[in-house]
């Protein structure tokens, strides 16, 4: 029973990654594809944060913690960097979707294709 509770974040990572990949592969609307990428990003960020957990650990910056045991702070920094990068790439992707819409009047991936071969 405890192994299910301890492994629950990793099960969530797998579920989110599968959902993200499924959306990216099957959906045709460009904005939904961007949403799929964002969900995949959330899955990887959740994976990084849950790597750092140590049993009965406190937050690293907590002044009045009861013991000296704390969770690892390095994955939190890695996740923060990844979130910032995710914001930048999402902004770029959405801008390009807006530009494709202005050129072709469509946000459907099949109908707005102009380059073939």
């Amino acid at each position: 029973m405890t192994s299910l509770v301890v492994n629950a974040p990793f099960v969530a990572v797998a579920a989110l990654a599968c959902v993200g990949l499924y959306i990216m592969v099957t959906q045709r609307d460009l904005i939904k594809i961007v949403m799929g990428v964002t969900i995949l990003e959330s899955a990887v960020n959740l994976f990084l944060v849950s790597l750092g957990y140590r049993n009965e650990g406190a937050a690293p910056g907590f002044t009045h913690a009861s013991g000296t045991h704390m969770v690892l702070p390095v994955p939190q920094a890695l996740t923060l960097t990844s979130i910032v990068i995710g914001v930048a790439t999402t902004a770029l992707m959405l801008t390009l979707v807006i530009l494709i819409y202005r050129h072709t009047g469509e946000t459907d991936a099949e109908k707005s294709r102009r380059v073939k071969g």
Partner: protein, 521 residues
């Protein structure tokens, strides 16, 4: 001067990064000031890169610890693992740095007149400097997460540059495909970094390599890393984004985006040789890379034969030449566990692959620039509508001939030298590999004969009567790459002995890569 040589690796990364953010501020003073500033920064970066190369060739692997009290202090006292971000420049990093700095310089000089009249030039040069800084960052770093961050910077600036001319719909479409593919690849790289951190609690490449136990999780991480980094470099079966992204890239950025793909291939080499090395099942991974290389070669050149857009044809040849490099590296990787085979032909194969990387960056970059020059002069990329430009655009025609001879592997050009090394070594592993490579080389020659005949020979067409030759800075930009191609053609053994074989030995010598950081500061 001594301080400059110690700090040269981080300066080569930090100076273009800081200059990228200074460019909009400098651009307020005027366009000419900004152009001079950008070219001066790139010349300084070229100087720093050559300083790093000289240091690595004379003094061995260079280690730089960011934030420590001394540059070489990788493991401080009372610690047993490295702390802080550490740059570790070995032969491979120095070799790739030359490619990044030179191609960026020639692309920027080319863009000075090719971008005249376009709006938003401040942002163009900012993105160009960011792309240069990120390429050097990936090549020089010894830290996995640092690699990921620079990989993302490379993806974002490359996609923004590819989509720069937003008035063309194919540019926006190419940029969108590039950013989706790059983001997913980088996420897979981050997942593998998480796997390494979760098992070993380390992020430094040398430290993880020392502690590596090749468990099932490490195999998963290897698969993710190879898949993601080979996708980013444009190997089959994830080659479909390459033509859409490279074709509409503006002005002189096509060679720089190509150099960034070669940098991702270099990062894959770093992972496979220095991080995993002999601990993995080398034959399986090696043959996977060989098969990817064969498919890339063949599919690239056959798709190129039916193209009528000159730049799209050249980008399919990008995929094809990538196949040659993967063939060379795969042959070297497949025999990595066998010291006799390595000494017999494995080392030659990797050296052939690396020499082909260097040659390709120069002659393929030159060909992409000539295609862009034709577009600049004629306003079209369609081969069916071009004709007879050999008389008016003499320099462009000469540069095209140099590039086309080199890429087809005609002696005495440098393409022949590197392809010969790959043919000889892959023949010893399996004769079929060399035969496929030879056939692809013949088809490459056929393809470029068609382009030459369509664009440059023949009678002059009436609609192109008023076409003038390209401006001076574009000729200088192409000239730098052409001069490099000719230099490598005339002195191949000198180039091999000076920079290619040290890079090969740096890749094969995983023990030294680990020992410089772990075995004492």
């Amino acid at each position: 001067m001594d301080a400059l040589t110690t700090h040269a690796p981080i300066l080569a990364i930090a100076v273009p990064l800081a200059a990228a953010f200074l460019t909009p501020l400098v651009g307020r003073l005027g366009a000419k000031v900004r152009n001079v500033f950008v070219v001066a920064i790139l010349l300084f970066v070229e100087f720093l890169v050559f300083t790093v190369v000289r240091q690595v060739l004379t003094a061995g692997i260079q280690v730089y610890t960011l934030g420590a009290t001394a540059a070489g202090l990788a493991i401080p006292e009372s610690h047993i693992v490295p702390v802080r971000i550490i740059l570790e420049v070995d032969g491979l990093g120095a070799f790739l740095g030359i490619i990044a700095a030179t191609v960026a310089l020639s692309g920027a000089v080319y863009s000075l007149s090719a971008m005249r009249g376009e709006s938003g030039q401040d942002r163009f040069y900012t993105l160009l400097l960011l792309l240069t800084a990120s390429m050097l960052g990936i090549q020089y770093t010894g830290d996995l997460f640092n690699l990921f961050v620079f990989l993302e910077i490379l993806s974002i600036s490359g996609a923004a540059l590819a989509a720069f001319r937003t008035r063309f719909v194919d540019a926006v479409e190419g940029g969108f495909k590039y950013v989706i593919v790059s983001t997913v690849s980088a996420l897979l790289v981050l997942l593998s970094i998480g796997i390494f951190y979760g098992q070993y609690n380390l992020l430094n490449i040398a430290a993880v390599s020392d502690a590596m136990r090749y468990t099932l999780l490490d195999k998963i991480a290897l698969a993710l890393l190879i898949g993601a980094l080979l996708t980013k470099s444009g190997a089959v079966p994830s080659h479909w984004w390459v033509p859409d992204t490279y074709t509409p890239a503006p002005a002189g950025t096509s060679p720089i985006i190509y150099a960034s793909s070669l940098t991702c291939l270099g990062a894959a080499l770093r992972i496979v040789f220095s991080l995993y090395g002999v601990k993995m099942t080398v034959s399986a991974v090696g043959w996977l890379v060989i098969v990817a290389g064969l498919l890339s070669m063949f599919i690239g050149v056959t798709m190129a034969l039916r193209q009528t857009d000159i730049k799209r044809l050249m980008t399919y040849h990008v995929i094809s030449q990538e196949g040659y490099m993967l063939l060379g590296f795969g042959v070297g990787l497949a025999v990595l566990g066998d010291p006799q085979a390595v000494a017999a032909y494995g080392r030659e194969a990797i050296a052939g692959g690396l020499f082909h990387v260097l040659n390709n960056a120069f002659f393929k970059g030159l060909l992409l620039l000539t295609g862009e020059a034709l577009f600049f002069a004629l306003g079209t990329r369609d081969l069916d509508r071009m004709g007879g430009m050999g008389r008016t655009m003499k320099w462009t025609c000469a540069f095209f001939i140099i590039g086309a001879l080199a890429i087809s592997g005609i002696p005495p050009m440098n393409g022949f030298a590197s392809k010969l090394m790959i043919y000889e070594t892959s023949y010893q592993l399996n004769p079929m590999l060399a035969i496929v490579a030879l056939i692809v080389s013949i088809m490459t020659l056929a393809s470029f004969t068609k382009v030459f005949q369509a664009a440059f020979t023949g009678p002059g067409l009436p609609e192109y009567r008023d076409v003038k030759p390209v401006p001076l800075s574009m000729k200088v930009g192409m000239g730098v790459l052409a001069a490099g191609t000719l230099f490598f053609s005339l002195f191949p053994q000198l180039v091999l002995d000076t920079i290619v074989y040290p890079a090969t030995d740096a890749l094969l010598n995983q023990t030294m890569y680990i020992g410089v950081i772990m075995g004492g500061s």
